[in-house]
């Protein structure tokens, strides 16, 4: 299956960090909704992909060597036409070559611009005693500054998933605070259960971060993701 192919390809290259593209492909296999994403190796390919996916799109550098894509000028958002996509593709490639001349560039990912929603994150890391542990929290500044997150050990039951969502202090935000769009809690529960199920079946995954997820009143989408493999 796709997951094993991605993992063995990374292994062959001696990598434990998967690219965003690979990480999202893995998430899709796990049953998690992600932004539509394709890999363009050339400008023409980026343009035709963006036509397929539909405007507006985002372009991001795909390279295992570029960890901070935005800082290196590897991200262009809200591109509304073929001209803009073509220009953005060239700019990304030249910026990366300037910033990280030795980086191995696999191409540029083309993805749809997800409509902004309530940002949440799901993470998985491994505890030396208890194994894989899932983390849930609100995205952005709330997770970074307030550490408003909850944890559960894999495997999660549906009740665990529900409780870990309700447990965070920012839960009222997910319920739709002061007229904001509420988050689809049932779908977030599904995400947690699917990640739990997936990492249980794939012990070779060491860390997983889906940050952010945009949550809407009807569904949610993984906007960025990062998977790290266990060293062989």
């Amino acid at each position: 299956m796709v997951v094993d192919e991605i993992i063995s390809a990374a292994r062959k290259e001696g990598r434990t960090y998967l690219t965003e593209l690979e990480s999202k492909q893995i998430l899709k296999e796990a049953g998690i909704n992600t932004t539509e994403i394709g890999l363009a190796r050339a400008k023409e390919e980026a343009i035709s992909l963006s036509r397929e996916i539909g405007f507006p799109v985002a372009l991001k550098i795909v390279s295992p060597d570029v960890l901070h894509k935005t800082d290196a000028g590897g991200v262009k958002l809200s591109l509304n036409s073929e001209e803009e996509v073509g220009k953005a593709f060239d700019e990304i490639i030249s910026s990366i070559k300037a910033h990280e001349p030795t980086a191995n560039i696999q191409g540029v990912s083309v993805q749809n611009m997800a409509r902004p929603g309530t940002e949440v994150i799901i993470g998985m890391s491994k505890d030396p005693q208890f194994g894989p542990v899932l983390m849930f929290g609100l995205g952005g500044i709330l997770v970074e500054v307030l550490k408003d997150v909850s944890f559960r050990i894999v495997p999660l039951t549906r009740r665990d998933a529900r409780e870990m969502i309700k447990e965070i202090k920012g839960y009222p935000i997910l319920e739709g605070y002061r007229g904001q769009e509420p988050a689809d809690i049932a779908v977030l529960e599904e995400f947690l259960l699917k990640v739990s199920d997936f990492v249980e079946r794939k012990p070779e995954i060491k860390e997983l971060d889906i940050n952010p997820i945009f949550a809407y009143s009807d569904g949610a989408v993984a906007v960025d993701a990062r998977v790290i493999l266990e060293a062989e």
């Binding site: 505890d127 030396p128 208890f130 194994g131 542990v133 050990i153 870990m164």
Partner: protein, 470 residues
């Protein structure tokens, strides 16, 4: 019979016990602790000058475990660490039911010699499937058969609480303080460095033990985390499990390393695990005592609405604060209750909104009970709390000497007919001696008491949350 029961039953219910290496300079603490052991007790000591002392205790001594003319179910080892491998070997050859190593000086010292010796005994025990408890612990307490590890522990009858403690001190203290609070042990074990048997094994054993209705645990670290998680999750569905995790801070983990050679673990993950498994987290010794007491003595409730009755005005304010801060609700009473109060309650110097201040209604004593009965009948309440101010009651005792005794008798009858959980807060003030007597009387009549509003409130909150989670 489950495998774990078969495996550990001889050690927990021994008919014969041998103490290896007890000596005068320790006042023969092991043999003395076992003075009321119901089975056969032997000593193993090779030091000639210790023999008269052992003989004086009426215990038969042998020079080797292997010389004892019957099988030995449980062995207590108090020899210097360098001799430990030799004794472990004898235990294997003797096919004992279990061996507890009081001996310390192993990995917890973080010395080459200590680590080496620990590896040797671990290897030997694992290979021979020997039930090695510890090292660096005080082992099993089974009061029903007089298997004690301290001279001041009770014996003869036990209770419903199983206790598993990585620390010997906490195991001993919990048995002693528990007894003063109406909490008696079914079986307990202190297990130290846990090189062979770990808390998971003991927990699985006590889960099957019919005498054990509640399990308390003091843990510094676990060895087989996944198994612990899976087992706890299953067991906590059947019996309440309370977990007190030692070493929750960086400073604390420094101590767990040198105490039982336990590794640091994330407190966040422990919190999640306890919640996820449906166990009850307690943060210290007092919470362990209080929450166990609440589980044993309070009728189960999932409701958070409390009726509070204090003996004076100032206390009525702070009892309400304490219970509200603990996350409980103090609602207004029903219209019917207010009508009943209005028919007899003297409001000069008192009040009955909720919280109640019954100061000017304390005498005659029937008034107190009448108030309590109204709270019991009130449909806005889920539980009932009464402050017993020992200072106040002692003052009344100067002119009505039997007041407190009669009140406690009446409260025992009330507790029996009350269909809500009922608890008392025994506020000693300066009358500490009298408070100890009062607590004893309450314990004898099965009325739970807590020494402060905050502690009572927290214990009630914890059990309400527990029953809600089921």
């Amino acid at each position: 019979m489950k495998d774990i029961v078969k495996k550990l039953d001889r050690a927990f219910n021994p008919r014969s016990v041998a103490v290896v290496g007890d000596k005068r300079e320790m006042d023969y603490m092991w043999l003395r602790s076992l003075a009321n052991f119901q089975g056969r007790l032997y000593s193993v000591q090779i030091d000639e000058k210790e023999l008269p002392g052992i003989e004086a205790l009426g215990v038969k001594n042998y020079f080797s475990l292997l010389d004892i003319p019957e099988s030995v179910d449980y062995v207590i080892v108090a020899v210097p660490r360098a001799v430990a491998p030799k004794i472990v070997k004898e235990c294997i050859d003797k096919k004992v039911g279990g061996v507890m190593l009081f001996t310390s000086g192993f990995a917890e010292t973080n010395t080459e010699e200590g680590i080496r010796l620990q590896e040797i005994i671990t290897e030997m025990a694992r290979e021979a499937d020997l039930n090695l408890i510890g090292p660096n612990c005080v082992g099993i307490f089974n009061p029903r058969i007089g298997l004690c590890h301290a001279v001041d522990q009770y014996y003869g009858d036990g209770g419903p609480v199983g206790f598993i403690s990585q620390s010997g001190t906490h195991a001993t203290y919990f048995s002693l303080v528990g007894a003063l609070n109406g909490i008696k042990i079914s079986k307990s074990v202190s297990y130290g460095n846990a090189v062979v048997l770990d808390c998971t094994d003991y927990m699985e054993y006590l889960a099957e033990d019919e005498d054990t209705k509640v399990i308390g645990m003091y843990i510094e670290g676990v060895r087989k985390g996944r198994q612990f998680f899976t087992s706890l999750r299953e067991i906590a569905k059947r019996k309440p499990v309370l977990i007190w995790k030692g070493g929750e801070t960086e400073e604390g983990t420094r101590a767990t390393a040198s105490h039982t050679a336990s590794l640091a673990e994330s407190p966040l993950v422990w919190d999640a695990l306890i919640k996820q498994c449906g166990a009850i987290k307690v943060d210290n010794f007092e919470e362990m005592v209080d929450t166990t007491k609440a589980l044993l003595y309070l009728k189960p409730t999932t409701g958070a609405r409390v009726g509070l009755c204090a003996m004076t005005g100032g206390q009525s304010v702070v009892i309400a604060d304490a219970f509200a801060k603990a996350g409980l609700e103090i609602p207004l009473l029903s219209e019917r209750s207010y009508q009943e109060f209005a028919s007899f309650f003297n409001i000069i110097g008192s009040s009955y909104r909720n919280p109640l201040d019954i100061s000017s209604n304390l005498i005659p004593m029937d008034n107190i009970i009448r108030c309590m009965d109204i709270l019991n009948e009130d449909e806005n309440l889920d539980s009932v709390v009464l402050e017993l101010s020992v200072a106040f009651l002692t003052r009344i005792a100067r002119f009505i000497p039997i007041f407190l005794d009669e009140l406690i008798d009446a409260l025992a009858l009330y507790n029996a007919r009350c269909n809500k959980p009922f608890l008392t807060i025994l506020v000693s003030v300066h009358a500490e001696t009298e408070a100890i007597e009062a607590r004893q009387k309450l314990v004898e009549r099965g009325i739970p008491s807590f020494p402060s509003f905050e502690r009572g409130a927290k214990a009630l909150k914890k059990v309400v949350e527990y029953y809600k989670s089921l």
